[in-house]
């Protein structure tokens, strides 16, 4: 009897999150329609979905979405790439680490959105300042993960490269970089998420287009459905990006995935 109960549970387990969310949505819908929740602040999910579809069809969403995405792409590329290079360098070279690490430790805890006014003073109120803010947000998680990726490498790998007379380039391209790939991908995921947070935040503060702009306007004009609709877009976007990163990481670092799967 116990076995069958366990089996039933195993079969239900993957569906449980969907079930919980579904029940929550049905509850929300009924409560909102029955007037238990204020329909102005908590419009029924079906209405939100309808608004989202309208925004997609009438082309209102697209320019905002592409504004956010292009900022994200440029900012993440700049910040992520610098984080990658400096992080791997710091992981590999103790000398570089001793010099730069205290700086990183001091700058990292500063909330990135708090320095946005400063960034605007330096880079102007145009697109550049937003991209820079996003780049800074992506930079730190990328750097820290890349650095720890190299430092977690078993020292015996370096003894092997040294013993076999590998050049610095060989050591980097065949050991340091591939060995750190799993951590690099963790860095990419965290960096993209941070970049997204800051992208939306700077759009709330100062932008003409972007998902953050829709959110801010819908709050000011009390078109709350649009606010929810944008949140859904952001959520789906984040989910999709994370899924893509995961599948790329599985392809490029197969040994790591299989190791972690075996541990489960």
């Amino acid at each position: 009897m116990r076995m069958t109960g366990e089996r039933l549970w195993l079969r239900l387990e993957p569906w449980l999150p969907i079930l919980i969310v579904g029940l929550g949505l049905i509850g929300w819908e009924t409560a909102s329609r029955a007037g238990l929740l204020s329909p102005l602040f908590f419009p029924p999910p079906t209405k939100i979905l309808n608004t989202l579809l309208q925004m997609i069809i009438n082309g209102k969403l697209l320019p905002h979405l592409s504004a956010t995405l292009s900022r994200l792409a440029i900012g993440f590329s700049i910040g992520g790439l610098s984080g990658l290079v400096l992080g791997l360098g710091m992981g590999w070279s103790p000398r570089l680490r001793t010099v730069v690490d205290p700086l990183i430790a001091a700058l990292h805890p500063i909330p990135k959105i708090a320095i946005f006014p400063l960034i605007m003073i330096i880079f102007g109120i145009g697109e550049a300042s937003k991209v820079v803010a996003i780049a800074i947000a992506a930079f730190f998680p990328m750097l820290i993960n890349c650095m720890s990726g190299v430092r977690q490498l078993n020292p015996v790998y370096f003894e092997v490269t040294e013993n076999y007379g590998a050049s610095a380039w060989k050591t980097f391209s065949r050991v340091v970089f591939p060995g750190s790939l799993p951590s690099i991908f963790t860095g990419v995921r965290l960096a993209v998420n941070m970049a997204m947070v800051i992208a939306i935040a700077v759009e709330l503060l100062a932008a003409k287009e972007g998902l953050g702009v829709i959110i801010w306007f819908s709050w000011q004009t009390l078109r709350i459905e649009e606010l929810y609709a944008s949140l859904i877009v952001i959520g789906v976007l984040g989910f999709g990006i994370n899924l893509a990163i995961q599948s790329i990481s599985r392809k490029l670092a197969p040994w790591q995935v299989e190791q972690s799967e075996r541990q489960e």
Binding site: N154, V156, Y157, E159, V160, T161, E162, N163, Y164, G165, A166, S167, K170, R174, V175, P178, G179, L181, A253, P254, W255, Q256, E258, Q259, R262
Partner: protein
């Protein structure tokens, strides 16, 4: 002669106290000789091996190599205890790594590696990753990598230390078989007295604190050697002799009164 260690000493500072890992180690190694360094754990045998490999600098003394230091030919290649393979490379690329560092082209080194892998019967694992192999197979791959790099000297740091005793026996024979086909000078570090006797032409028995060579013993067994050699009366005699030499130290280490 391949190389000569002259008065090698190594000390380092640990928790504020100076520890002498090696003291006045003197020995010579001849061409194509299989030398086993045997001793209890902590006697500095791995340190000695790493000094020979050039991974560590001795505090004093020196090693004089009398082999040509030609370009593109490794002086030594080391087989590490475990974890020496790169998890992100296939078996083939791991075996080929020693050729890769010597600048041999991808196509050529892959071909050489796969020939070697097929010859020892690992063909089915050519494109597997190390985590897909058993511990014994991983060490076979590590040994292949070292042999394929074609160094003058092979350095082995307890390569079978992490394997179960059955696997170990088979691996010892396998190593001797590969070595018969590719004669090299081998320095083999182990704490297993019997393993050292069965593999080596000559044994350097070390004792620890500070690490030094207590005795050199020539092993008179015929080659090729087999598992059956372990029942040879001479093996038993040498084993007992070495054990008596090291026993006091092991007991002292464990605080057991003799």
């Amino acid at each position: 002669m391949v190389f000569e260690c002259i008065e090698l000493s190594k000390s380092y500072v640990s928790r504020g106290a100076e520890v002498t890992a090696l003291q006045s180690v003197d020995f010579t190694v001849r061409e194509q000789e299989f030398v086993c360094i045997v001793g209890p754990s902590g006697c500095g045998k791995t340190t000695l091996l790493k000094i020979i490999a050039g991974l560590i600098e001795p505090t004093s003394g020196k090693i004089v190599f009398s082999i040509p230091q030609s370009n593109g030919h490794l002086r030594s290649a080391m087989v590490f205890q475990e974890q020496g393979l790169f998890p992100w490379m296939s078996v083939q690329d791991n075996v080929a790594f020693g050729l890769e560092t010597q600048g041999i082209s991808l196509a050529e080194r892959r071909e050489l590696a796969s020939d070697f892998i097929v010859k020892v019967g690992l063909a089915g694992f050519m494109h597997s990753f190390p985590h897909e192999l058993s511990g014994g197979m991983r060490q076979r791959v590590a040994i292949l990598r070292a042999f394929l790099a074609n160094p003058h000297i092979l350095l082995m740091d307890e390569p079978f230390g992490a394997l179960d005793s059955q696997t170990r026996l088979v691996m010892q024979e396998e190593l001797l078989r590969i070595w018969r086909d590719h004669r090299k000078t081998v320095i083999y570090v182990t704490h297993d007295i019997e393993e050292a006797i069965l593999l080596g032409d000559r044994l350097l028995v070390m004792s620890g604190r500070p690490g030094r060579i207590r005795q050199e013993i020539n092993i008179p067994l015929e080659r090729p050697r087999h598992l059956a050699n372990r029942d040879h009366p001479e093996v038993a005699e040498i084993r007992w002799h070495i054990w008596k030499m090291l026993e006091d130290e092991v007991r002292k280490d464990l605080s057991i009164l003799s």
